[in-house]
């Protein structure tokens, strides 16, 4: 038997059966960062203060991606998304933008993949919009930091 819940006995993929799981409110929070030069970070922050939008576009893209996670991640269940909030914080000490995505669902399976997908999509969107200025950005530190409502109770990984 496979050790992985998304594998059948032949080692091929399956969509794990969650029909026996309880329907509960489930929440998850993921974080990640996109690292860039000081000039690029300043340009985003200034643009954003005056009139601008890089972070707003990234936030919109991330929220939309949360809802479409099951289309992109093959063994991820399609679930109703009840809330998504996102925080994009410029960080001049570490020269990055820190991304936090929180979301909730009511159902039989968790929402970790959705918040991870939101974080990575927001990071990719920032990358896309400022890549003409900076060819050396790096996206990283993408991880789940909190997960509640599942069988294992509340879990904090941070």
């Amino acid at each position: 038997m496979s050790k992985f819940t998304h594998m059948d006995n032949k080692g091929r993929p399956k969509l794990m059966d969650v029909s026996e799981k309880d329907e509960t409110l489930r929440e998850a929070v993921a974080k990640g960062s996109i690292f860039m030069s000081k000039d690029t970070l300043l340009a985003i922050v200034e643009g954003n203060t005056k009139k601008g939008d890089v972070l707003s576009v990234a936030q919109t893209a991330g929220i939309m991606a949360v809802k479409r996670t099951s289309e992109i991640i093959p063994m991820c269940h399609n679930i109703p998304i009840l809330s998504v909030s996102m925080d994009l914080e410029p960080d001049f000490e570490n020269l990055c933008i820190n991304i936090t995505v929180s979301a909730s669902t009511f159902g039989r399976t968790g929402i970790e993949m959705e918040v991870l997908h939101g974080v990575s999509t927001a990071a990719l969107t920032i990358y896309d919009m400022v890549k003409s200025m900076d060819k050396k950005m790096i996206i990283g530190d993408i991880r789940v930091v909190k997960k509640t409502g599942g069988k294992s109770g509340d879990v904090y990984m941070d």
Copy 2:
């Protein structure tokens, strides 16, 4: 005037006009990693050797995501994808799987966002399939390492 090519004069987003750019063959390569415990890495590698599939599912998901990048990243052009290849290498020294995605297009705009999207989707797919074993995985080091065919000639960032 905005410093960003994806912004109009009001600081709102636009899809950058590429109609004046030359149609050329353009290629890009991106890399990234998903870090995990030694046990998880072993389980993937063993599963994969015997019969298994975590890496094959991730590779399929990553290639599919490359083709759908312009749906997910708001200011990314829709382009014909002429090739995608991917390499997933377990790395026991750094306790991670290293992901490399290469792709090419023939057109007026580059293919960096597509390979980055392929890397992040492959990483998220691995995460999803083994998350029942390991709650502390981290996805990182996602960056473009090579870009050819654009106005600026061949660029190697690694």
Copy 3:
């Protein structure tokens, strides 16, 4: 604090939290029209009577669009669609086709955006199929006319 339920404290978008709302049967009806020349209207109606299909294609497209609303409208929740019906009525007095879409869901949030999306997609589909005959069509009067099942009870806007 923002006056808008889809905004966070920084004025950036969020998917409004509906987890505290009651699960109820919710219905909505939207209407709209596409205005055109008498010749175009006649061609659609005759084509349709004899054998034809402009309105059937538009109805199919509108129903499919209802189901995909949350993919296209960024802050719209993904919800189960329990029914969609549509009526397309040629109107020779006002030289237009009047479009009505009704739909229902069982859940925590309303279905107004879905019926509006159905109306506008049906109108766009008609436009597409007859635009070779008529370059001056106008789509308009798109609005919600009825909404039931929410906190505010039944609301009729027409």
Copy 4:
């Protein structure tokens, strides 16, 4: 009145109203086959035994398609998919690969279209991956073999 539940009184399509139906666990199983030359079948099986992947890619594609059925089939409801499993069996007697897809949902409408869509997508994916070797493959025998949880009780068609 139309004999078809997906038709309105004008003979135009509608998404059938299922709001009065009971929410129950519903399962369905579909089968189908892709017929090919012996050489092609051998190449798939050998490739698959040693290292390979045609069947894994097909299985991934089929499971993903199950989740997206309501996007592709116009009058099919969007439903939560609770499980999908698939079996791909090379059959040297009939020179084909036999495909079986099982899936379950909890809701007001059945899951037959989803399993049929999974079967046909897996077959098309196999076709695509080996078509350079074999131009005469045929996909067939796609049908529902089992359906449980609906008003009519358990139905076995095989």
Copy 5:
């Protein structure tokens, strides 16, 4: 023979054959408006000036929709989108927001449907984000105002 280019001889839909058409640069511009109360318009404008985002989210959604038009409008060809720009102008005289979308492609068919889809999606997104304040908004006046690069030369409809 059908009068409509998207119909076959049986009166059923087809995707019109454009293979004989010339590849040229083609542009189109569409306009439309969303009408609302003065209070709602003020809230959007104030929100937008200070920090805010309704119009930015609408602009992002509209641009994304331009790229996905061929998925939603059944007989619309899939084409490469080379540019999209959008303008959202609050209009206190007519109590509306005026939406203008311009886009270009290089290919064998025009881009009118894409700009119309961009306008209607931006309007729907505004509707969604402020509907808690205003239940009587109306979307209208959606039309093509300019079309260049096709067989019929430049056409101005406004």
Copy 6:
């Protein structure tokens, strides 16, 4: 080395590199059938003659599916679709509806998968719309019958 063009040296999937192939006009034709009871076939044909729509909805769904093939079939390239036509013929001798889909592209890779996807989607749509009348329908005989414009010249498989 793999015998399959969609496999890399590790036996994992890749999107085959077509950048060296010639850009030509490429066409393909696929056929398939959905077999049903005489009563069901009569109901479709009568409905269709008088007012009806099962075949029109199926035709719309099939054409839309042709355009989205590369989203569903993992190793299929995204290509511009220049034309799609479809024929749905009731066949009382064999008690089925025969489906024929023709399509063309101008590019570096063929369009066989697209026409096969159109056939199977039209068949599934018919199945969905009449399944309340007939639980024993079978979809089959799906194959490519013609392919032109590729390296191997015109090929007729029927």
